[in-house]
Subunit: 227 residues, 2 copies
Protein backbone atom coordinates (compact mmCIF):
# COMPACT_ATOMS: atom_id res chain seq x y z
CA UNK A 1 0.00 0.00 0.00
CA UNK A 2 2.75 2.41 1.05
CA UNK A 3 6.09 1.98 -0.73
CA UNK A 4 8.86 4.44 0.14
CA UNK A 5 12.17 3.96 -1.68
CA UNK A 6 15.39 5.65 -0.66
CA UNK A 7 13.80 9.04 -0.02
CA UNK A 8 15.73 12.04 1.16
CA UNK A 9 14.46 15.42 2.33
CA UNK A 10 16.77 18.37 2.60
CA UNK A 11 15.73 21.84 3.75
CA UNK A 12 17.92 24.58 2.39
CA UNK A 13 18.07 27.67 4.58
CA UNK A 14 20.29 30.44 3.37
CA UNK A 15 23.74 28.90 3.42
CA UNK A 16 22.95 25.95 5.69
CA UNK A 17 21.27 22.66 4.85
CA UNK A 18 19.18 20.47 7.14
CA UNK A 19 19.15 16.83 6.06
CA UNK A 20 15.85 15.78 7.65
CA UNK A 21 15.76 12.41 5.84
CA UNK A 22 18.95 10.81 4.54
CA UNK A 23 17.76 7.79 2.59
CA UNK A 24 14.71 6.05 4.02
CA UNK A 25 13.03 2.96 2.58
CA UNK A 26 9.88 1.50 4.06
CA UNK A 27 6.98 -0.67 2.95
CA UNK A 28 3.61 -0.84 4.69
CA UNK A 29 1.03 -3.47 3.69
CA UNK A 30 -2.73 -3.02 3.66
CA UNK A 31 -4.08 -3.35 7.18
CA UNK A 32 -0.71 -3.11 8.94
CA UNK A 33 -0.15 -1.22 12.21
CA UNK A 34 3.32 0.30 12.36
CA UNK A 35 4.82 2.41 15.17
CA UNK A 36 7.68 4.83 14.48
CA UNK A 37 9.97 5.93 17.31
CA UNK A 38 13.16 7.94 17.54
CA UNK A 39 14.84 10.97 19.13
CA UNK A 40 13.49 14.48 18.76
CA UNK A 41 14.54 15.81 15.34
CA UNK A 42 15.25 12.40 13.82
CA UNK A 43 12.82 12.90 10.91
CA UNK A 44 9.65 11.16 12.06
CA UNK A 45 7.20 13.99 11.29
CA UNK A 46 8.99 14.70 8.02
CA UNK A 47 8.56 11.04 7.00
CA UNK A 48 4.88 11.17 7.98
CA UNK A 49 4.31 14.31 5.90
CA UNK A 50 5.89 12.64 2.87
CA UNK A 51 3.88 9.43 3.33
CA UNK A 52 0.78 11.57 3.80
CA UNK A 53 1.36 13.43 0.52
CA UNK A 54 1.61 16.75 2.34
CA UNK A 55 5.11 17.26 0.98
CA UNK A 56 7.39 15.75 -1.65
CA UNK A 57 10.78 14.09 -1.16
CA UNK A 58 13.94 15.83 -2.42
CA UNK A 59 15.05 12.54 -4.03
CA UNK A 60 13.72 8.97 -4.10
CA UNK A 61 10.38 7.40 -4.94
CA UNK A 62 7.06 7.07 -3.21
CA UNK A 63 4.29 4.83 -4.46
CA UNK A 64 0.88 5.00 -2.78
CA UNK A 65 -1.57 2.17 -3.54
CA UNK A 66 0.20 1.52 -6.82
CA UNK A 67 0.39 5.18 -7.94
CA UNK A 68 3.86 6.75 -8.16
CA UNK A 69 3.37 10.05 -6.39
CA UNK A 70 5.90 11.87 -8.61
CA UNK A 71 3.54 11.36 -11.60
CA UNK A 72 0.83 13.46 -9.93
CA UNK A 73 0.56 17.22 -9.98
CA UNK A 74 -0.38 19.01 -6.75
CA UNK A 75 -4.12 18.94 -7.47
CA UNK A 76 -4.17 15.22 -8.19
CA UNK A 77 -1.95 14.55 -5.16
CA UNK A 78 -4.34 16.45 -2.91
CA UNK A 79 -7.30 14.50 -4.27
CA UNK A 80 -5.55 11.17 -3.67
CA UNK A 81 -4.60 12.19 -0.15
CA UNK A 82 -8.12 13.35 0.77
CA UNK A 83 -9.59 10.08 -0.49
CA UNK A 84 -7.22 7.71 1.28
CA UNK A 85 -5.42 9.32 4.18
CA UNK A 86 -6.32 10.92 7.49
CA UNK A 87 -3.75 12.80 9.55
CA UNK A 88 -3.49 13.44 13.29
CA UNK A 89 -0.92 16.24 13.47
CA UNK A 90 1.66 16.65 16.24
CA UNK A 91 0.38 20.20 16.76
CA UNK A 92 -3.28 19.33 16.07
CA UNK A 93 -3.82 21.98 13.36
CA UNK A 94 -7.39 22.74 14.41
CA UNK A 95 -9.13 25.71 12.82
CA UNK A 96 -9.60 28.29 15.56
CA UNK A 97 -12.55 30.06 13.94
CA UNK A 98 -14.61 26.87 13.74
CA UNK A 99 -16.37 25.08 16.59
CA UNK A 100 -15.17 21.67 17.75
CA UNK A 101 -18.03 19.94 15.87
CA UNK A 102 -17.30 21.92 12.69
CA UNK A 103 -13.62 21.03 12.93
CA UNK A 104 -14.50 17.35 13.04
CA UNK A 105 -16.82 17.76 10.01
CA UNK A 106 -14.18 19.36 7.77
CA UNK A 107 -13.00 16.14 6.00
CA UNK A 108 -16.65 15.32 5.18
CA UNK A 109 -17.22 18.78 3.73
CA UNK A 110 -14.33 18.03 1.33
CA UNK A 111 -16.09 14.80 0.36
CA UNK A 112 -19.42 16.49 -0.22
CA UNK A 113 -21.17 14.47 2.49
CA UNK A 114 -24.74 15.81 3.04
CA UNK A 115 -25.12 18.01 6.11
CA UNK A 116 -27.33 15.75 8.23
CA UNK A 117 -25.09 12.72 7.75
CA UNK A 118 -22.01 14.89 8.37
CA UNK A 119 -23.35 16.18 11.69
CA UNK A 120 -24.29 12.68 12.79
CA UNK A 121 -20.88 11.15 11.99
CA UNK A 122 -19.07 14.06 13.68
CA UNK A 123 -21.23 13.71 16.79
CA UNK A 124 -20.47 9.98 16.92
CA UNK A 125 -16.69 10.44 16.66
CA UNK A 126 -16.71 13.27 19.21
CA UNK A 127 -18.59 11.00 21.62
CA UNK A 128 -16.00 8.24 21.06
CA UNK A 129 -13.26 10.56 22.39
CA UNK A 130 -15.44 11.80 25.28
CA UNK A 131 -15.99 15.33 24.00
CA UNK A 132 -19.61 15.45 22.86
CA UNK A 133 -20.37 18.03 25.56
CA UNK A 134 -17.85 20.50 24.08
CA UNK A 135 -19.13 20.43 20.47
CA UNK A 136 -19.99 24.11 20.34
CA UNK A 137 -16.79 25.39 21.90
CA UNK A 138 -13.75 26.74 20.08
CA UNK A 139 -10.27 25.13 20.08
CA UNK A 140 -8.79 27.95 22.20
CA UNK A 141 -11.31 27.08 24.93
CA UNK A 142 -10.04 23.52 25.23
CA UNK A 143 -7.21 21.93 27.17
CA UNK A 144 -4.19 20.57 25.29
CA UNK A 145 -5.39 17.01 25.56
CA UNK A 146 -8.92 17.96 24.52
CA UNK A 147 -7.53 19.58 21.35
CA UNK A 148 -5.58 16.42 20.65
CA UNK A 149 -8.74 14.33 21.01
CA UNK A 150 -10.66 16.60 18.61
CA UNK A 151 -7.85 16.13 16.07
CA UNK A 152 -8.23 12.36 16.52
CA UNK A 153 -12.02 12.50 16.07
CA UNK A 154 -11.49 14.52 12.88
CA UNK A 155 -9.13 11.87 11.51
CA UNK A 156 -11.68 9.11 12.14
CA UNK A 157 -14.76 10.75 10.69
CA UNK A 158 -14.07 9.99 7.02
CA UNK A 159 -13.48 6.26 7.65
CA UNK A 160 -10.06 6.50 5.98
CA UNK A 161 -7.96 3.70 4.44
CA UNK A 162 -4.83 5.00 6.16
CA UNK A 163 -4.47 6.90 9.45
CA UNK A 164 -1.15 8.70 10.02
CA UNK A 165 -0.98 9.68 13.69
CA UNK A 166 1.93 11.89 14.77
CA UNK A 167 2.29 11.49 18.54
CA UNK A 168 -1.49 11.20 19.14
CA UNK A 169 -1.18 10.74 22.92
CA UNK A 170 1.62 13.19 23.76
CA UNK A 171 -0.77 15.47 25.66
CA UNK A 172 -2.90 12.76 27.23
CA UNK A 173 -2.79 11.11 30.64
CA UNK A 174 -2.31 7.35 30.70
CA UNK A 175 -6.00 6.45 30.95
CA UNK A 176 -7.19 8.79 28.18
CA UNK A 177 -4.20 7.72 26.08
CA UNK A 178 -5.21 4.07 26.43
CA UNK A 179 -8.76 4.97 25.34
CA UNK A 180 -7.28 6.45 22.15
CA UNK A 181 -5.14 3.34 21.66
CA UNK A 182 -8.30 1.23 21.95
CA UNK A 183 -9.96 3.31 19.22
CA UNK A 184 -6.93 2.84 16.96
CA UNK A 185 -6.81 -0.90 17.67
CA UNK A 186 -10.50 -1.24 16.78
CA UNK A 187 -9.90 0.72 13.58
CA UNK A 188 -7.00 -1.55 12.65
CA UNK A 189 -9.13 -4.65 13.34
CA UNK A 190 -11.66 -3.34 10.82
CA UNK A 191 -8.95 -3.04 8.15
CA UNK A 192 -7.56 0.50 8.46
CA UNK A 193 -3.78 0.81 7.94
CA UNK A 194 -2.13 2.76 10.77
CA UNK A 195 1.27 4.43 10.99
CA UNK A 196 1.80 6.06 14.36
CA UNK A 197 4.71 8.13 15.65
CA UNK A 198 5.08 7.88 19.39
CA UNK A 199 7.65 8.61 22.08
CA UNK A 200 5.97 6.13 24.43
CA UNK A 201 7.16 2.51 24.21
CA UNK A 202 4.02 1.35 26.02
CA UNK A 203 1.84 2.84 23.27
CA UNK A 204 4.17 1.46 20.58
CA UNK A 205 3.44 -2.08 21.81
CA UNK A 206 -0.09 -1.81 20.37
CA UNK A 207 1.44 -1.84 16.90
CA UNK A 208 2.58 -5.00 15.12
CA UNK A 209 5.87 -3.56 13.86
CA UNK A 210 8.22 -0.99 15.33
CA UNK A 211 10.45 1.21 13.15
CA UNK A 212 13.27 2.99 14.97
CA UNK A 213 14.77 6.13 13.41
CA UNK A 214 17.68 8.35 14.23
CA UNK A 215 19.33 11.18 12.38
CA UNK A 216 17.17 10.95 9.25
CA UNK A 217 17.52 7.19 8.77
CA UNK A 218 15.81 3.98 9.83
CA UNK A 219 18.08 2.14 12.28
CA UNK A 220 16.15 -1.10 12.70
CA UNK A 221 12.71 -2.64 12.58
CA UNK A 222 11.29 -4.99 15.19
CA UNK A 223 8.36 -7.33 14.63
CA UNK A 224 6.08 -9.27 16.96
CA UNK A 225 7.74 -10.65 20.11
CA UNK A 226 10.99 -8.72 19.76
CA UNK A 227 9.15 -5.42 20.27
CA UNK B 1 6.20 31.30 48.35
CA UNK B 2 3.07 30.18 46.49
CA UNK B 3 -0.15 30.15 48.56
CA UNK B 4 -3.35 29.19 46.77
CA UNK B 5 -6.52 29.18 48.89
CA UNK B 6 -9.77 27.65 47.79
CA UNK B 7 -9.62 29.01 44.26
CA UNK B 8 -12.24 28.36 41.64
CA UNK B 9 -12.22 29.15 37.94
CA UNK B 10 -15.39 29.06 35.91
CA UNK B 11 -15.60 29.79 32.20
CA UNK B 12 -19.00 31.04 31.11
CA UNK B 13 -19.84 30.30 27.50
CA UNK B 14 -23.23 31.45 26.35
CA UNK B 15 -25.62 29.42 28.48
CA UNK B 16 -23.15 26.77 29.62
CA UNK B 17 -20.53 26.93 32.36
CA UNK B 18 -17.24 25.05 32.53
CA UNK B 19 -15.98 24.63 36.09
CA UNK B 20 -12.27 24.27 35.35
CA UNK B 21 -11.26 24.57 39.03
CA UNK B 22 -13.73 23.75 41.80
CA UNK B 23 -11.93 24.76 45.00
CA UNK B 24 -8.19 24.16 44.96
CA UNK B 25 -5.81 24.89 47.84
CA UNK B 26 -2.06 24.43 47.54
CA UNK B 27 1.09 25.72 49.19
CA UNK B 28 4.55 25.60 47.62
CA UNK B 29 7.64 26.50 49.67
CA UNK B 30 10.75 28.25 48.38
CA UNK B 31 12.94 25.73 46.58
CA UNK B 32 10.33 22.97 46.35
CA UNK B 33 9.87 20.73 43.31
CA UNK B 34 6.24 19.74 42.83
CA UNK B 35 4.76 17.56 40.07
CA UNK B 36 1.09 17.86 39.08
CA UNK B 37 -0.67 14.96 37.36
CA UNK B 38 -4.23 14.22 36.36
CA UNK B 39 -6.55 13.32 33.47
CA UNK B 40 -6.90 15.48 30.39
CA UNK B 41 -9.22 18.38 31.22
CA UNK B 42 -8.82 18.09 34.99
CA UNK B 43 -7.63 21.70 35.40
CA UNK B 44 -3.83 21.40 35.50
CA UNK B 45 -3.04 24.11 32.91
CA UNK B 46 -5.70 26.37 34.37
CA UNK B 47 -4.09 26.04 37.82
CA UNK B 48 -0.66 26.77 36.29
CA UNK B 49 -1.96 29.91 34.56
CA UNK B 50 -3.41 31.16 37.85
CA UNK B 51 -0.22 30.41 39.80
CA UNK B 52 1.74 32.08 36.99
CA UNK B 53 -0.35 35.28 37.21
CA UNK B 54 -1.46 34.88 33.60
CA UNK B 55 -5.07 34.78 34.73
CA UNK B 56 -7.13 35.47 37.85
CA UNK B 57 -9.32 33.06 39.85
CA UNK B 58 -13.11 33.46 39.79
CA UNK B 59 -13.14 33.15 43.60
CA UNK B 60 -10.54 32.42 46.27
CA UNK B 61 -7.17 33.91 47.20
CA UNK B 62 -3.68 33.70 45.77
CA UNK B 63 -0.64 35.04 47.57
CA UNK B 64 2.71 35.11 45.76
CA UNK B 65 5.83 35.69 47.89
CA UNK B 66 3.72 37.47 50.49
CA UNK B 67 1.78 39.66 48.01
CA UNK B 68 -1.98 39.02 47.68
CA UNK B 69 -2.44 38.98 43.93
CA UNK B 70 -5.96 40.47 44.13
CA UNK B 71 -4.40 43.73 45.45
CA UNK B 72 -2.49 44.23 42.20
CA UNK B 73 -3.79 45.75 39.02
CA UNK B 74 -2.91 44.11 35.71
CA UNK B 75 0.24 46.21 35.17
CA UNK B 76 1.61 45.46 38.63
CA UNK B 77 0.69 41.77 38.25
CA UNK B 78 2.57 41.58 34.95
CA UNK B 79 5.62 43.20 36.51
CA UNK B 80 5.61 40.75 39.44
CA UNK B 81 5.24 37.83 37.08
CA UNK B 82 8.06 38.92 34.78
CA UNK B 83 10.39 39.34 37.78
CA UNK B 84 9.74 36.03 39.47
CA UNK B 85 8.20 33.46 37.14
CA UNK B 86 9.16 31.65 33.96
CA UNK B 87 6.66 29.60 32.03
CA UNK B 88 7.09 26.61 29.72
CA UNK B 89 3.73 26.45 27.92
CA UNK B 90 1.99 23.24 26.86
CA UNK B 91 1.79 24.63 23.33
CA UNK B 92 5.20 26.36 23.50
CA UNK B 93 3.90 29.83 22.48
CA UNK B 94 6.98 30.68 20.43
CA UNK B 95 6.90 33.82 18.28
CA UNK B 96 6.95 32.68 14.68
CA UNK B 97 8.38 35.89 13.26
CA UNK B 98 11.46 35.72 15.50
CA UNK B 99 14.43 33.40 15.16
CA UNK B 100 15.08 30.68 17.73
CA UNK B 101 17.82 32.78 19.39
CA UNK B 102 15.59 35.86 19.47
CA UNK B 103 12.78 33.83 21.03
CA UNK B 104 15.10 32.73 23.82
CA UNK B 105 16.21 36.36 24.37
CA UNK B 106 12.68 37.75 24.80
CA UNK B 107 12.53 37.57 28.65
CA UNK B 108 15.87 39.42 28.83
CA UNK B 109 14.58 42.14 26.51
CA UNK B 110 11.77 42.69 29.04
CA UNK B 111 14.39 43.04 31.77
CA UNK B 112 16.49 45.51 29.83
CA UNK B 113 19.52 43.22 29.72
CA UNK B 114 22.25 44.71 27.45
CA UNK B 115 22.42 43.10 24.00
CA UNK B 116 25.82 41.40 24.29
CA UNK B 117 24.96 39.78 27.62
CA UNK B 118 21.54 38.80 26.28
CA UNK B 119 22.99 37.06 23.24
CA UNK B 120 25.53 35.21 25.39
CA UNK B 121 22.96 33.93 27.90
CA UNK B 122 20.61 32.85 25.10
CA UNK B 123 23.43 31.01 23.33
CA UNK B 124 24.31 29.21 26.57
CA UNK B 125 20.75 28.06 27.24
CA UNK B 126 20.24 26.98 23.63
CA UNK B 127 23.41 24.91 23.88
CA UNK B 128 22.14 23.29 27.10
CA UNK B 129 19.12 21.93 25.19
CA UNK B 130 21.24 20.87 22.21
CA UNK B 131 19.96 23.45 19.75
CA UNK B 132 22.82 25.93 19.30
CA UNK B 133 23.08 24.94 15.63
CA UNK B 134 19.48 26.04 14.92
CA UNK B 135 19.75 29.55 16.44
CA UNK B 136 18.96 31.37 13.21
CA UNK B 137 16.00 29.25 12.19
CA UNK B 138 12.33 30.02 12.72
CA UNK B 139 9.94 27.99 14.92
CA UNK B 140 8.02 26.66 11.90
CA UNK B 141 11.25 25.10 10.66
CA UNK B 142 11.69 23.01 13.79
CA UNK B 143 10.32 19.66 14.89
CA UNK B 144 7.76 19.50 17.71
CA UNK B 145 10.35 18.44 20.24
CA UNK B 146 12.80 21.10 19.07
CA UNK B 147 10.13 23.78 19.62
CA UNK B 148 9.53 22.41 23.10
CA UNK B 149 13.23 22.63 23.88
CA UNK B 150 13.40 26.24 22.67
CA UNK B 151 10.50 27.05 25.02
CA UNK B 152 12.49 25.44 27.85
CA UNK B 153 15.64 27.41 27.00
CA UNK B 154 13.58 30.60 27.01
CA UNK B 155 12.24 29.79 30.48
CA UNK B 156 15.77 29.29 31.84
CA UNK B 157 17.43 32.36 30.41
CA UNK B 158 16.24 34.88 33.03
CA UNK B 159 17.41 32.72 35.98
CA UNK B 160 13.89 32.80 37.46
CA UNK B 161 12.80 32.19 41.08
CA UNK B 162 9.94 29.98 39.93
CA UNK B 163 9.66 27.79 36.82
CA UNK B 164 6.16 26.63 35.86
CA UNK B 165 6.52 23.86 33.28
CA UNK B 166 3.32 22.58 31.64
CA UNK B 167 4.13 19.14 30.19
CA UNK B 168 7.72 20.08 29.21
CA UNK B 169 8.57 16.62 27.81
CA UNK B 170 5.31 15.68 26.06
CA UNK B 171 6.94 15.92 22.62
CA UNK B 172 10.31 14.47 23.57
CA UNK B 173 11.75 10.97 23.32
CA UNK B 174 12.87 9.33 26.55
CA UNK B 175 16.54 10.29 26.26
CA UNK B 176 15.94 13.96 25.37
CA UNK B 177 13.23 14.10 28.04
CA UNK B 178 15.69 12.87 30.67
CA UNK B 179 18.17 15.55 29.56
CA UNK B 180 15.48 18.16 30.25
CA UNK B 181 14.74 16.54 33.63
CA UNK B 182 18.46 16.82 34.46
CA UNK B 183 18.39 20.54 33.65
CA UNK B 184 15.35 21.03 35.90
CA UNK B 185 16.95 19.00 38.71
CA UNK B 186 20.11 21.11 38.52
CA UNK B 187 17.98 24.27 38.59
CA UNK B 188 16.13 23.02 41.66
CA UNK B 189 19.44 22.18 43.38
CA UNK B 190 20.49 25.79 42.91
CA UNK B 191 17.33 27.02 44.63
CA UNK B 192 14.74 27.49 41.87
CA UNK B 193 11.18 26.51 42.80
CA UNK B 194 9.63 24.21 40.21
CA UNK B 195 6.02 23.24 39.55
CA UNK B 196 5.73 20.81 36.66
CA UNK B 197 2.63 19.31 35.03
CA UNK B 198 3.34 15.94 33.48
CA UNK B 199 1.46 12.91 32.20
CA UNK B 200 4.55 10.73 32.71
CA UNK B 201 4.93 9.09 36.14
CA UNK B 202 8.61 8.42 35.44
CA UNK B 203 9.23 12.16 34.99
CA UNK B 204 7.08 12.94 38.04
CA UNK B 205 9.47 10.92 40.22
CA UNK B 206 12.10 13.64 39.81
CA UNK B 207 9.90 15.91 41.93
CA UNK B 208 9.77 15.80 45.73
CA UNK B 209 5.97 16.02 45.96
CA UNK B 210 3.19 14.79 43.68
CA UNK B 211 -0.20 16.51 43.47
CA UNK B 212 -2.94 14.50 41.79
CA UNK B 213 -5.94 16.34 40.31
CA UNK B 214 -9.18 15.27 38.77
CA UNK B 215 -12.25 17.20 37.74
CA UNK B 216 -11.06 20.60 38.92
CA UNK B 217 -9.94 19.47 42.39
CA UNK B 218 -6.86 18.09 44.11
CA UNK B 219 -7.50 14.45 45.02
CA UNK B 220 -4.38 13.71 47.03
CA UNK B 221 -0.76 14.63 47.52
CA UNK B 222 2.11 12.16 47.85
CA UNK B 223 5.50 12.97 49.34
CA UNK B 224 8.88 11.23 49.23
CA UNK B 225 8.77 7.42 49.25
CA UNK B 226 5.03 7.09 48.61
CA UNK B 227 5.39 8.65 45.14
N1 LIG C 1 -10.72 29.53 27.82
C1 LIG C 1 -11.50 28.50 28.18
N2 LIG C 1 -12.84 28.56 28.00
C2 LIG C 1 -13.61 27.54 28.37
N3 LIG C 1 -13.20 26.41 28.92
C3 LIG C 1 -11.88 26.27 29.12
C4 LIG C 1 -10.97 27.30 28.77
N4 LIG C 1 -9.71 26.88 29.08
C5 LIG C 1 -9.85 25.65 29.62
N5 LIG C 1 -11.16 25.28 29.64
C6 LIG C 1 -11.70 24.04 30.16
O1 LIG C 1 -11.33 23.88 31.53
C7 LIG C 1 -11.04 22.52 31.82
C8 LIG C 1 -9.61 22.41 32.35
O2 LIG C 1 -8.71 22.79 31.35
P1 LIG C 1 -7.15 22.63 31.53
O3 LIG C 1 -6.51 23.21 30.30
O4 LIG C 1 -6.73 23.22 32.82
O5 LIG C 1 -6.97 21.06 31.60
P2 LIG C 1 -5.64 20.18 31.72
O6 LIG C 1 -5.73 19.44 33.00
O7 LIG C 1 -4.45 21.05 31.50
O8 LIG C 1 -5.79 19.16 30.53
P3 LIG C 1 -4.69 18.51 29.51
O9 LIG C 1 -4.03 17.43 30.29
O10 LIG C 1 -5.60 17.99 28.43
O11 LIG C 1 -3.79 19.59 29.06
C9 LIG C 1 -11.19 21.75 30.50
O12 LIG C 1 -12.46 21.12 30.48
C10 LIG C 1 -11.12 22.83 29.45
O13 LIG C 1 -11.85 22.51 28.30
N1 LIG D 1 10.45 23.38 7.33
C1 LIG D 1 11.66 23.02 7.82
N2 LIG D 1 12.74 23.75 7.52
C2 LIG D 1 13.94 23.38 8.02
N3 LIG D 1 14.20 22.32 8.78
C3 LIG D 1 13.14 21.56 9.12
C4 LIG D 1 11.82 21.87 8.67
N4 LIG D 1 10.97 20.94 9.19
C5 LIG D 1 11.74 20.09 9.91
N5 LIG D 1 13.02 20.47 9.88
C6 LIG D 1 14.15 19.81 10.53
O1 LIG D 1 14.23 18.46 10.07
C7 LIG D 1 14.60 17.60 11.16
C8 LIG D 1 13.57 16.53 11.33
O2 LIG D 1 12.34 17.12 11.74
P1 LIG D 1 11.07 16.28 12.15
O3 LIG D 1 9.97 17.24 12.44
O4 LIG D 1 10.80 15.24 11.14
O5 LIG D 1 11.56 15.58 13.50
P2 LIG D 1 10.78 14.59 14.48
O6 LIG D 1 11.48 13.31 14.45
O7 LIG D 1 9.33 14.62 14.17
O8 LIG D 1 11.04 15.27 15.88
P3 LIG D 1 10.09 15.42 17.20
O9 LIG D 1 10.13 14.10 17.89
O10 LIG D 1 10.83 16.49 17.94
O11 LIG D 1 8.74 15.83 16.74
C9 LIG D 1 14.73 18.47 12.40
O12 LIG D 1 16.08 18.78 12.62
C10 LIG D 1 13.96 19.71 12.03
O13 LIG D 1 14.44 20.85 12.67
MG1 LIG E 1 7.71 15.37 15.15
MG1 LIG F 1 -3.10 21.17 29.96
Amino acid sequence: LIEVQDITKTYIMGDSEVHALRGVSLGVEHGEYVAVMGPSGSGKSTLMHLIGCLDRPSTGHYTLDGTPVEDLDDVALSALRNRKISFVFQSFNLISQLSVAENVEVPLIYRGTPREEREQLAAQKLASVGLAHRRNHRPNELSGGECQRVAIARALVSDPDIVLADEPTGNLDTKTGEEVMAILAELNDSGTTIVMVTHDIVKAKHAKRLVQMSDGKIDRQLVGEEK
